[in-house]
């Protein structure tokens, strides 16, 4: 039986969807409703992509999603309650159980852990109680990486009825004060951002002002793109040999060319801003520092591939970047840079923001598409690839934030000039998220081909005696100090059996508790596995158990089993999560990092 929603819950949903039009979608019943109803499958299918935004609307206004609120969302959208429940329960930031209005999600992941998170958690334990304890309208919960590793420890404050906030370098006093709503929340220290090309404008350009963007050369690239025409833009991108910066390093020009050449008239562009690889924060830095450039880059991409609609799917834990981008889109639209006939150039393009719900897997491109479509964020089988059958089944270009933000310079300066930087196979510059036991954690941009040692030097060198570097995040690998001379290129990393991944360079020194860190990585994958395919769902659990057996009982590590689990997950998982879930753990074992235990 349907449970009625509270007025505040209805208001939260109606603020997003508008008022209902008939009793069949939630209004008070009139005589006319007994004679006709418009609805059915097609209307529900068209509205389905509003499911996640509607659930977010309730969550952020009320603090949790009651049965009545869920039923009301279902009625408004024509979604069966069981399906909506499946979607709502998929995301960590959405709660189907009552939660107090203020929730502190405290990062206890690999970087924050040794940099204050464990002390912070212990203080919260003392002050409030164990995770989930409700006191004075507030609680705290442990969280995977929040993408603030350069300013650890990080806390994401999810606040019902008010704006969500992130605390960096958070002290227990700060967190407790925020949970009690005592006074204003002081912003954290400015991040360290070092770079010339992509990062060059950050700190100079005003991220809240379109005028500032234009004053600093904004929209010259779009104008140039329009002069060149779509085919030439794609050709420049191919000439640049820009490879994807999200981790997979796929040539961006190949994707664009495939979609631009599609016979399907409806195509989509997606900017993957669901940056959630532990240790990664460079996309956030780009979005917070230079949001208009991303909007412009997406517009160029839409123009080049013939997409009229772009989705920007951003991590739910990035409220500041979300607000800045929202404002940038509104300003760009008002000035004619988005919408019908962009800048009078005769093409239509607009951008919609979709907020993630706290699910690492949604960074996987097809899971992200399912998430936009209002389904559970479970990856799809590939092929077909998104360039043929992507969002809503249409040809889709999906690029990472950093990848897209390279585009304006490629358009204005030409693909060949871009390709002159770096190596033939790894062109341009690359952003690295340097964190952990390092003097100046921050975002560093270096030309492709710099060595790992040079990058670490740039960040002031290690703190203490360096023992290992986690390269590429939880899905990447630990590398030892014998590999510091490795050139940071796609091919250079591959030659060493590792990958640059999303640009994570996390340093660990002599004081690091590697067994604890490795168990945290194993727990992360077990928690974030979507559960759709068996190898990953079971494999990530078995792997964690195997580590626990070794590390708590002192029994020898069952390496053969670890390798077998890894092989099964690599061979038979649907997506990259399963493929990479054992890499960091195996690399730690191979480096002997667990042996001090």
């Amino acid at each position: 039986m349907e449970v009625p929603a509270a007025p505040a819950e209805r208001a939260a949903v109606d603020a997003l969807l508008g008022a209902p039009e008939s009793s069949w979608d939630g209004a008070h019943r009139t005589a006319a409703d007994g004679r006709v109803a418009f609805g059915g499958f097609h209307l529900a299918a068209a509205r389905r992509e509003l499911l996640l935004p509607a659930l977010h609307a309730v969550q952020s206004e009320i603090g949790w999603i009651s049965r009545g609120a869920l039923d009301y969302v279902c009625r408004r959208l024509g979604v069966p309650p069981a399906e909506a429940y499946g979607v709502a329960s998929f995301y960590a930031l959405l709660s189907l159980e009552e939660r107090p209005p203020r929730v502190a999600h405290v990062c206890d992941d690999v970087c924050c852990r040794p940099h204050g998170a464990l002390e912070l958690i212990s203080a919260l334990n003392d002050a409030i109680g164990p995770a989930g304890t409700v006191a004075e309208g507030a609680t705290w919960l442990p969280s995977p990486c929040l993408g603030q590793c350069d300013r650890a420890p990080a806390v994401f404050l999810q606040m019902a009825g008010e704006a969500d906030v992130v605390l960096t370098a958070a002290s227990p006093e700060q967190v407790l004060a925020a949970l009690r709503s005592d006074g204003s929340i002081t912003p954290g220290a400015a991040p360290v951002v070092v770079g010339e090309a992509l990062l060059g404008r950050i700190g100079t350009v005003d991220p809240t002002s379109l005028a500032s963007h234009v004053a600093h050369g904004g929209y010259e690239a779009l104008q140039r793109a329009v002069e060149l025409g779509p085919a030439a833009v794609v050709a420049e991108l191919k000439a640049s040999n820009l490879r994807g910066r999200g981790g997979a390093a796929f040539p961006a020009g190949v994707k664009w060319e495939a979609v631009a050449g599609s016979a399907e008239p409806v195509r989509y562009l997606i900017c993957n801003a669901d940056e959630s690889e532990p240790g990664t924060f460079k996309d956030r830095v780009l979005m917070e520092g230079d949001p208009f450039l991303l909007v412009e880059a997406m517009t160029i991409a839409g123009f080049a591939v013939g997409a009229e609609r772009g989705y920007l799917y951003i991590r739910g834990e990035y409220p500041a970047a979300t607000d800045l981008l929202r404002s940038a889109i509104v300003q760009a639209r008002a000035a004619g840079y988005l919408g019908r006939s962009v800048t009078g150039a005769g093409f239509d393009f607009d951008i919609e923001i979709r907020r993630g719900g706290g699910a690492y897997i949604c960074g996987e491109e097809t899971a992200l598409m399912n998430s936009i479509e209002g389904l559970r964020g479970e990856p799809r089988n590939k092929p077909p690839f998104p360039t043929q059958h992507g969002l809503f089944g249409q040809p889709t270009v999906i690029n990472n934030v950093e990848t897209l933000m390279n585009v304006p310079a490629i358009v204005t300066g030409g693909g060949a000039a871009f390709a002159e930087v770096g190596t033939p196979q790894s062109t341009g510059t690359k952003l690295y998220c340097v964190s952990g036991a390092v003097a100046r954690p921050g975002t560093y941009e270096v030309a492709m081909g710099e060595t790992l040692a040079a990058l670490i030097d740039k960040a002031g060198g290690p703190v203490g005696e360096l023992r290992a570097v986690l390269l590429g995040g939880a899905a990447g690998a630990f590398v030892g100090i014998d590999m510091l001379e490795m050139p940071l290129t796609f091919e250079g990393a591959a030659a060493h059996g590792v990958s640059l991944g999303s640009g994570v360079v996390m340093l660990f020194n002599h004081s690091a508790d590697f067994p604890d860190l490795v168990r945290r990585v194993a727990a992360f994958f077990r928690d974030e596995s979507c559960g759709q395919c068996v190898p990953c769902r079971v494999g990530t659990v078995r792997q964690e158990e195997l580590l626990a057996r070794h590390l708590t009982s002192g029994r020898p590590l069952d390496r053969a089993l670890l390798e077998e689990i890894d092989r099964v997950m690599k061979d038979a998982s649907i997506c990259g999560l399963g493929h990479t879930a054992a890499i960091a753990i195996r690399s730690a074992v191979d480096l002997g990092l667990l042996e001090s235990a």
Partner: protein, 537 residues
């Protein structure tokens, strides 16, 4: 009117058609297998309208639901027909080439303006117009219906009114377009095909046609009565008048399934002799003089079934029937022997081959071919014939091989059981997903969905009658009264009530229903009863 006793189209076609009019059918609950095919069609892009007094779970799938008054189907169909004609959307060349008496039809529907249509049906004129235009201009479209059309005193006219719409637009006799009465069991179609009709021999051959009958008489070596028999409603009348004094019931439970239960019980009790052949000891069987336990058709016998799309499929025996239960062929053959006409006990295939010799539409369906092709759709006149995916393709042939299909004007007549101040609420009946007919086959199983015997009314009526959900109410019609708990449901508008007929023991809805029946089909008007609802103090 088109001269075939089956739906014109295949399941495959509902999956690819452009427009679906689901009229008087809650197929999602009552015909879930067909509805799966229909959902595929909707997912493939078909626009769907449902015409139903209630906004059923089927209607929830529809782009548009038309909340018609019970028994106003002809009014709606005539209005749609007139609108198609006046808007110039009728398929003139098809009408000219393939139909007859169009002018009579056009003249008869002339009074059915959109305004009058709205007035009689309750459906807004703009919505009627929209459905008319969408149906008429679709490339392919199907009208599907079930008992909401046929359980009325004017059932045949209801069907004819729908057929007229197909003739008007040419939505028949082509792949994807058609007229589809959905069958409620896996073999309802087969029952009719095999001659379980008072006026037909197997293969829909008219019993009053001397040539057809002669063929059967020659093979069977026995004369067959040359007049059509009585359909169920006439049989009941004849039993009442002691014209029929003995009854042989096979796989039916009339004591609970017929309208006006107390009346039918007294009629059955008045018989001199009743035999019931069934796999369950039904209420009817309890009243019988002799019960012949039968084998379950789907697991304990060999044979065939025929689905709504006219597809004959084989059924294979997996188990021996328990105890003294016997295959129907066995029972009938042994009865024949005791009656002095021993023909041995044929196998199912032998019986089938005899049918193939007599029924041209089944002639090509050997067991071997049924196996090879996974079933065959009739007609299949010879062993080279692949079967027929859709019927009435001849309508589109030039020249036409048969007489054109006639339009038959259908005047609207309201339900017999009038609404008055004394009986102000229209009660309609139907099925639920978890239960089956009178519950003989489904009440032995539990279901989390089962609501049990209750009456559903509009929340507004609940308020005005000062009722709370779960209250016991007395529901009275001109024929009887029952006491049941009441629940509110938004699928009902004020003045409309609903009961399922699955629970004759706890909620004997047919104590209330009227046995006014359609003179042409013999179906009673289960769908339209006037009742009064009062709180039981």
């Amino acid at each position: 009117m088109l001269g075939a006793g089956g739906g014109t189209s295949s399941y495959e076609e509902i999956e690819t058609t452009d427009v679906i009019l689901l009229w008087g059918s809650n197929a999602r609950d009552a015909h879930p297998i067909f509805f799966h095919h229909l959902i595929k069609g909707v997912r493939n892009g078909a626009k769907m309208y449902t015409v139903d007094p209630r906004r059923t779970s089927s209607a929830a799938w529809a782009d548009v639901w038309l909340g018609i008054d019970v028994g106003a189907d002809i009014a709606l169909a005539n209005t749609v027909g007139r609108e198609i004609i006046t808007a110039g959307l009728a398929n003139r060349s098809f009408i000219e080439h393939s139909t007859a008496h169009f002018e009579d039809y056009a003249a008869a529907v002339e009074e059915w303006t959109l305004e009058r249509g709205e007035q009689v049906t309750g459906v807004p004129a703009a919505v009627i117009k929209e459905m008319a235009h969408t149906y008429a201009t679709a490339d392919t479209a199907q009208i599907c219906w079930t008992l909401g059309i046929t359980e009325h005193h004017n059932a045949t006219d209801n069907v004819l009114a729908l057929i007229s719409l197909a003739l008007l637009t040419g939505h028949v006799g082509r792949y994807g377009s058609g007229l589809v009465p959905i069958r409620g069991q896996n073999n309802v179609q087969g029952g009719g095909d095999m001659g379980a009709l008072p006026n037909k021999l197997p293969g829909f051959q008219d019993v009053e046609d001397d040539e057809a009958r002669g063929k059967f008489e020659a093979l069977w070596g026995h004369a067959i009565p040359a007049q059509a028999g009585k359909h169920l409603s006439l049989m009941i009348e004849a039993m009442e008048q002691k014209e029929i004094t003995a009854l042989y019931v096979i796989g039916e439970n009339p004591a609970q399934s017929e309208a006006d239960t107390s009346h039918i019980e007294s009629v059955l009790n008045g018989l001199e002799f009743m035999v019931v052949q069934d796999i369950f000891l039904t209420r009817t069987a309890e009243m019988a003089d002799v019960v012949l336990p039968a084998a379950a058709g789907w697991a304990e016998t060999e044979g065939t079934v025929t689905s709504s799309e006219r597809r004959v499929q084989r059924v294979r025996k997996a188990l021996d029937p328990p105890g003294e239960a016997k295959d129907d062929i066995d029972i009938i053959s042994q009865l024949a022997e005791r009656m002095g006409r021993g023909w041995g006990i044929p196998t199912a295939e032998e019986a089938w081959d005899e049918l193939r010799a007599l029924s041209p539409m089944h002639a090509g369906m050997s067991y071997r071919r049924l196996d090879e092709l996974g079933g065959i759709q009739w007609p299949c006149p010879d062993e080279e014939h692949p079967g027929t995916q859709f019927l009435h393709g001849w309508l589109w042939e030039d020249p036409m091989p048969r007489e054109p299909a006639p339009f038959v004007p259908t005047p609207w007549v309201p339900p017999v059981d009038e609404l008055t101040d004394e009986y102000p609420i229209r009660l309609t009946t139907g099925r639920r997903l978890d239960s089956y007919n009178t519950g003989v086959q489904s009440s032995g199983y539990e279901s989390p969905l089962r609501a049990g015997g209750l009456i559903e009314i509009a929340p507004e009526d609940g308020a005005s009658l000062d009722l709370a959900e779960g209250d016991l109410v007395r529901v009275a019609s001109r024929r009887g009264a029952i006491e049941v708990p009441v629940y509110f449901h938004e699928s009902l508008r004020p003045g409309l009530a609903f009961m399922a007929f699955h629970f004759p023991d706890e909620a004997a809805v047919n104590e209330l229903t009227i046995d006014a029946w359609d003179p042409k089909s013999g179906t009673a008007e289960f769908k339209a009863t006037a009742v009064r609802i009062e709180k039981v103090a």
